[in-house]
């Protein structure tokens, strides 16, 4: 080909690769200048005689996850047919993108207004939070702690949300196979011992080490169907608070289908985060298909997020539109894939509650713990329970299963 030898056209190709990288970046792929250099090098190596080779060369450089492939594919086909075309399209897109920003802000404000009627925007809220902390007397906070979320007025709900946001969730750490220096450790750290020996002379002082621990990943599966709608917003605040200072938290919402909202919760601002969740999830306050949603989770996500001894919180009232169809098998799979499975059910607050619905009966045999989640106090005891390593599997929910068996028998 003539073009490859002529320096001017070679320059064109370099420039085009650069523009292409820019287009990919605009489309959301994490493409840095290092990769552009790598791409140029790679294209030089493979040559541009064969379009398929060229495609796979750029693919090997720019794509780092499987799900980026469709974006890359589209961008490649548009760009390398006519680079100007994509630029033009981007030109068309860009102004609309910048228009999007103020719109997002108004959305945010709308959300803030929906959250608290007398508030104008998100900024004063932070001040209010501090005021609220100082103003709340002990008895008042005690009352609020025990009050049922369902019976709270809007204003009390707002205060509960603030309290939830300050809730610290510390998970019991799992032992890892790594060791860390520790004077009380059971094992001798030979390397450190020998190095210390060189500094001093005479008696060899033993240095010790013990197993390092690390917090397990936390996976939350939260029901957002109509019967749970009173609690949903509060749980979202809870999820945001929990994922705020920890990296390994994965959050999923389900009604009739499953949505992964982990990424949206990363926004620091709670209103912005909830706003993004609201627009990403479509099945708010509808019916529940617990079995199908869990099946989706098991197939698509369980192997990716439950890997390292994860603790799973399943928040649902167990009222299933499908009457528990297929739920038993999926719960079994979920239970076997994680280290600890805790079912949080707001209905458990009622005195003499019995898991009667088909959905509840299907879930109960497979959970390690069964806890209420209807007021601040129950959230606090949950946080307390998570600090402990937890009883043996299935044990904490054993009496519920016995009751169930007695009634059946």
């Amino acid at each position: 080909m003539e073009g490859t030898s002529a320096p001017q056209n070679g320059g064109n190709l370099l420039a085009n690769i650069m523009y292409f990288a820019r287009a990919l970046r605009a489309a959301g792929l994490p493409v840095g200048p290092g990769q552009v250099l790598k791409a140029v090098e790679a294209v030089r190596q493979v040559g541009i005689e064969n379009r398929a080779d060229f495609y796979w060369t750029l693919h090997a450089v720019f794509v780092t996850r499987r799900d980026q492939r469709p974006i890359f594919d589209q961008a490649f086909h548009i760009f390398w047919r006519n680079p100007k075309l994509l630029e033009k399209m981007m030109g068309l897109l860009l102004p609309s993108l910048s228009v999007n920003d103020p719109e997002a802000e108004t959305m945010n404000r709308r959300l803030a207004e929906a959250l608290a009627e007398n508030q104008q925007n998100a900024a004063p809220e932070i001040e209010r939070e501090q005021e609220f902390d100082a103003a709340m007397s002990f008895s008042e906070s005690e009352k609020l702690r025990k009050m049922d979320f369902e019976q709270m007025s809007n204003e009390e709900m707002e205060r509960a949300r603030h309290a939830v946001r300050n809730l610290a969730l510390v998970l019991a750490e799992n032992p890892t196979r790594r060791f860390a220096a520790n004077p009380q450790g059971a094992r001798i750290d030979m390397r450190a011992t020998l190095r210390a020996q060189l500094r001093s002379s005479g008696i060899i002082a033993l240095k010790r080490k013990r197993r390092a621990t690390k917090p397990p990943p936390l996976v939350v599966l939260c029901d957002i169907s109509g019967s749970m709608s009173r609690y949903t917003r509060l749980f979202l605040h809870f999820l945001h608070a929990v994922s705020r200072d920890r990296s390994q938290v994965y959050a999923f919402l389900f009604g009739t289908r499953l949505s992964n909202i982990t990424r949206y919760l990363r926004s620091r601002d709670v209103d912005e985060a909830l706003d993004r969740v609201a627009s990403a999830v479509e099945d708010w306050s509808g019916g529940t298909r617990i079995g199908q949603s869990l099946a989706q989770f098991n197939r698509r996500w369980s192997r990716r997020v439950l890997g390292q001894g994860a603790v799973v919180l399943l928040i649902t009232d167990g009222l299933d539109r499908d009457g528990g169809a297929g739920l038993d098998a999926e719960m079994d799979r979920l239970h076997k894939s994680c280290r600890r499975l805790i079912w949080l059910n707001p209905l458990l607050r009622y005195e003499g509650f019995a898991p009667k619905s088909l959905g509840m009966r299907a879930i109960l045999p497979h959970v390690d713990e069964f806890r209420p989640v209807h007021n601040l106090e129950s959230l606090e005891t949950l946080a307390e329970a998570l600090k402990q390593a937890g009883p043996r599997r299935l044990e904490a929910a054993a009496h519920w299963r016995q009751d169930l068996a007695q009634k059946a028998g």
Binding site: A52, A60, T64, L194, R195, A295, R303
Partner: protein, 305 residues
């Protein structure tokens, strides 16, 4: 004798097929880039799709040494890179104490290469007569994040720093193949340093070619049925774990061991455990579903003739 890396994508395909590896053009491109630009190849994909096999084939066809680092949770520098031989060091210290060696000379002595135990990563940086070795870092997703971060230095500069000894740098970088089953996401910083490729399940045509190579004793008609059935299984929406190529090959071997000449519902039911590894999945397929899939397969194959 070291064989030089292939010059272009077609040569790479030929090289892989010499090692009985049937590769797509796209995979060959990624391998070629990794070989010629001397950067790691990062392979991701479901279990049993031939990720590990690539490293083995490369080592074999290029006549290089294969150094394998199997990752696991808690893998640390002592078992991945190097460790000091403490017992020998202790003896050396005792000996020095009875002699009259000065403290500095003892220190220099016991932290020298003589007392160093080399683990896979360090071995891979050492020059080899057959040329730079193939370093296989298998199932990186099983190791934890701190180890991944440590790999960054090794893989970008091909050097390892040993505080007591200094920096060991590879004269020629090894051929690095990293695999992951995606039980967690590997950090982008590491992936950026590599050429990435997602190995998918193969097409029916390619799977047939692989089966022909890997299980040559099996009748062509049976292989066609086996491949068509496995492809049908992969299209079944609610299986927890889909069978990979490794399972296809195992299944073909199992069937030929049982002297099966053509698939029948009974033969499938008896051997389903080779293909599917979860009881729920087996229960779903066994019996009528297997029969239904098989009749579809037979009808399609008859139609194709």
């Amino acid at each position: 004798m070291a064989i030089n890396p292939p010059k272009n994508v077609a040569d790479t395909t030929a090289l892989l097929s010499r090692g009985s590896y049937v590769a797509d053009r796209s995979l060959a491109t990624a391998v070629h880039l990794a070989l010629s630009l001397k950067r790691p190849l990062f392979l991701e994909g479901e279990a049993g799709t031939g990720k590990t096999e690539i490293a083995k084939v490369l080592a074999e066809t290029l006549g290089r040494k294969l150094i394998r680092l199997q990752c696991y949770e808690g893998l640390d520098v002592a078992s991945a890179v190097y460790e000091w031989n403490y017992a020998r060091q202790m003896i050396e210290i005792r000996l020095a104490e009875s002699g009259s060696a000065s403290k500095d000379s003892v220190e220099e002595e016991i932290f020298s290469e003589k007392f160093l135990i080399e683990r896979p990563l360090l071995q891979a940086l050492k020059p080899d007569l057959a040329g730079p070795p193939v370093l296989l870092i298998d199932e990186l997703d099983r190791a934890d994040e701190p180890f991944e971060a440590y790999l960054l230095e090794v893989l970008s500069d091909f050097q390892v720093s040993i505080p007591e000894l200094g920096t060991v740098k590879a004269q020629e970088p090894p051929i690095v193949v990293i695999t992951s089953n995606r039980t967690r996401e590997i950090h982008d910083a590491l992936k950026r340093r590599c050429f990435y490729y997602w190995i998918d399940y193969p097409s029916a045509e390619r799977e047939l070619a692989i089966l022909k190579l890997k299980a040559p004793g099996i009748a062509a008609s049976l292989s066609r049925e086996v491949v068509a059935f496995v492809q049908k299984l992969r299209a079944t929406p609610d299986l927890f774990k889909l069978p990979g190529i490794a399972e296809t090959i195992d299944w073909a071997h199992a069937l030929s061991q049982l002297d099966v000449l053509a698939l029948s519902p009974e033969a499938i039911n008896d051997t389903l455990g080779v293909l599917l590894k979860y009881q729920d999945d087996i229960a779903k397929i066994q019996g009528s579903e297997a029969e239904r899939l098989l009749s579809q397969v037979k009808a399609e194959l008859a139609g194709a003739k």
